[in-house]
Symmetry: C2
Subunit: 269 residues, 2 copies
Amino acid sequence: MPLRELQYPAEPYSRVNRLRDRGDYTLETIHQIVNSCPMLHVSFQPPNSPFPAVLPMIGQMGSFTRPSADLGDVLDLYLHGYVSSRIMNLTRSPNSQEQEGLPVTVAASHLDGLVLALTPNSHSYNYRSAVLFGHATLVTDTAEKLYAMELITNSVVPNRWSNSRVPPNAAEMQSTSVLKVKINTGSAKIRTGGPHDERGDMEDEGLLDWVWTGVVPVYTVMGEPIAGGYNRVGEVPGYLESWRQEANQGAEEYAKEAVGREVAKKTGE
Amino acid sequence: MPLRELQYPAEPYSRVNRLRDRGDYTLETIHQIVNSCPMLHVSFQPPNSPFPAVLPMIGQMGSFTRPSADLGDVLDLYLHGYVSSRIMNLTRSPNSQEQEGLPVTVAASHLDGLVLALTPNSHSYNYRSAVLFGHATLVTDTAEKLYAMELITNSVVPNRWSNSRVPPNAAEMQSTSVLKVKINTGSAKIRTGGPHDERGDMEDEGLLDWVWTGVVPVYTVMGEPIAGGYNRVGEVPGYLESWRQEANQGAEEYAKEAVGREVAKKTGE
């Protein structure tokens, strides 16, 4: 435990209002949720659209200026995308370059369990969710772009970057864009534990004898790798296979252990 | 296959521009992705906030006026939430009631596989993602609210509603809000298949001999149910256990079979 645990400021737009005791503002908690999420949901308001845009994207937090920074430090979020896409064009428009960049909100959510109580209203999920608010700009520095591409590739499969053909050639560098989101603030919300019910239901003996209550743990599994049509490498490489098995074990353990950890102080969700 | 397959109109804000052949506008495809997603990401622009809001929510599509409607029909999206929360207050404000409701964008995304190619730039995901654009209003009719609560509860675990204490009492009806989103339009984007690489890499014999290429299938698993502290029902009920096993099998099969289905006509991601 560090002496000083950095926290994001609770702004009106980021504060956890409902079930406040589930809120968490520490950088380490939030960055951990984001960096372990294989798909982020990135939202922004395009001009002339009646609706906000929401894009599923791949992203990872890191520090180009201090690559050894850990999860509890101030980090930037790097998002992977395409030159032609709408979000990229918006961050490139004069409007957002004059200012700090395009305002974006990024959500990362993990479902950890179905919490089944005596009555539907007390049902809940165990989950970890984080949301970050910041300004997105295009990364133009080649070294920083390469740093982010490696960071993002290795977030999908650790060590994949150095175990595939790199560096990207000129056409690839040209066609791939990386967005950097400078974070203003963020928050996380976490639920663990078993079901909770209201007193009226807890005192109903017939109900207690009839309704099964508990948690169905939910976790993501990576199955046996399936070789592609032009694969020539006989065995699945160790860096991939050992990571896959560890990640599977870790995901299952988290979901199961979360059931025993009572964090929420209030009943129901 | 119905004679006439309904499609959502491709509006400027909903059109799939990048990798157009992965786009799908049929109601059935989009509704199927949404209804099988345990966590939706709901975005809207709060007044006086520099950033859009993104909330993970539970939701389900259905038709109150025609409950027997199937996935390919015109449906509404029902979202479960809390009276006190920001989105509920916004849909209740005079501003949005005078108009059609609060403009919201809802994203549903499934990750189905990690697609590992010869070079990081050709890496991809197999996935199914859908996005819906519409206007949210509070459901005030009691019968419709009950319909939506049952629909949403049974989307988490089929038949759970009738196997727990219902109907909700007055306090529960009061404290729970349901949002109804009238859909303007939507779109889906789906990738299946194995890796694709650029010709330059495919002709590099040394690279082909060195880099493993293929797909790591990814799917969600529901583990053995864990009884809660006050559970008295000895055996996990059949409606829960048989559904859990079928759902697990279906999820694993989808992710594995997706590898063999080549939909994308273009290379790369």
